[in-house]
Symmetry: C2
Subunit: 220 residues, 2 copies
């Protein structure tokens, strides 16, 4: 094997490895949503992805490690969707200088931004199950807390910047406000699941999220 | 057996039955908190209460039915603790006519009322697990939703009346506001469990609950 072959092989190997990880993560999401996080076995996940148990373990040391990778992926996707929504629906209204919006504009803009978000129901369910596993298992609780704190920190930065561009700011601690609004969304998902409410995320939350965001913010 | 004996027997039987149910509920709470709601078996619960499986089934048709009875008991206790707190700490400040409180009074009063509440951590954990079972099991999801809606309706009535006596009212839908504040408390419990934060419920929430209550209300 020449050194050229070695240099060429590395990216191929890396791309293939990436595809394997992606297929394992996709399959795991389905299996978690279908069977529950606790009940899902490494064997079932590997099989659903079309791989062996060995292929699973050459990518992830445990089901929990895979779950954290899945959370990172979903977090990144959702924050990107939020950035895209802000760029697409808020930016044109407020321009570069920052323009005050009236309450109707706020409601319309938030609804459109929410419409861009992937429907959260399955994700909310498996994440809640993983949280409960983390609450009972000290081996993963610290990592779960770190993930969650990191997520809310990034989310708060985005929301605070978007509000500022529309000349608003929170009247309580911003991260606390963002957590409360996120919990409102999560709670809405739970109620929708219990009540077999088939309406979309954005439709169910188009009243309550803007209302609480307005109640917890003021004009600068 | 005379008719007098019959009349006397009924309350004795009923009181004994009540004691059996109470012991089963107490034991179940411990077993649920220790082992998790899903893992806990009827056998384990009956044994922990000092009864046979037969005694369990002469009181509850299933683990789920017992769980609903446990939720009713905890709900009643917590709403009574809240009423007692309002009576003890808010009533003397506002009198019968209704007096405006300044923000410091609001914070102090809420903290004292929270201090009266039973520490929620174990209860929050088992209730969250039961919610997740209900989300996956259509046989109990409707009952769970009915229980939860009833709870928030009663809680909202109490909170709205307490606010009115202090000449405040919510600026958003009252039940939504109460749900958001309850979720803030539940979220605080989860974080405390993950972070092994041993501070009491009232201590951890003495900043955030009054802050959000003030942010979501206005003076009448």
């Amino acid at each position: 094997m020449t050194s050229t072959a070695l240099r060429d092989d590395a990216p191929v190997e890396s791309a293939r490895r990436q595809r394997t990880r992606t297929r394992l993560l996709d399959a795991a999401f389905d299996v978690f949503a279908e069977q529950g996080v606790k009940a899902a076995s490494v064997e079932t996940i590997a099989e659903a992805a079309g791989f062996t148990r060995g292929a699973f373990y050459s990518n992830f040391s445990s089901k929990e490690e895979l779950f954290f990778a899945l959370m990172e992926r979903e977090k990144t996707m959702r924050l990107e969707q939020l950035d895209a929504g802000v760029e697409q629906f808020l930016r044109p209204l407020v321009g570069a200088g920052g323009v005050e919006l009236d309450d109707d504009d706020v409601i319309r803009t938030i609804t459109r931004i929410l419409e861009l978000q992937s429907d959260d129901r399955r994700w909310w369910l498996v994440q809640s199950e993983f949280l409960l596993l983390a609450l009972r298992d000290p081996a993963i609780s610290a990592d779960f807390l770190r993930y969650q704190d990191g997520f809310f920190q990034e989310l708060t930065e985005t929301v605070v910047a978007a509000l500022a561009s529309a000349r608003r700011r929170f009247t309580i601690d911003p991260e606390e406000a963002v957590r409360v609004i996120a919990e409102l969304c999560a709670n809405g998902e739970a109620r929708a699941l219990l009540a077999r409410d088939e309406r979309k995320f954005s439709e169910r939350l188009s009243q309550s999220v803007p209302a609480i965001l307005l109640a917890l913010t003021e004009r600068i």
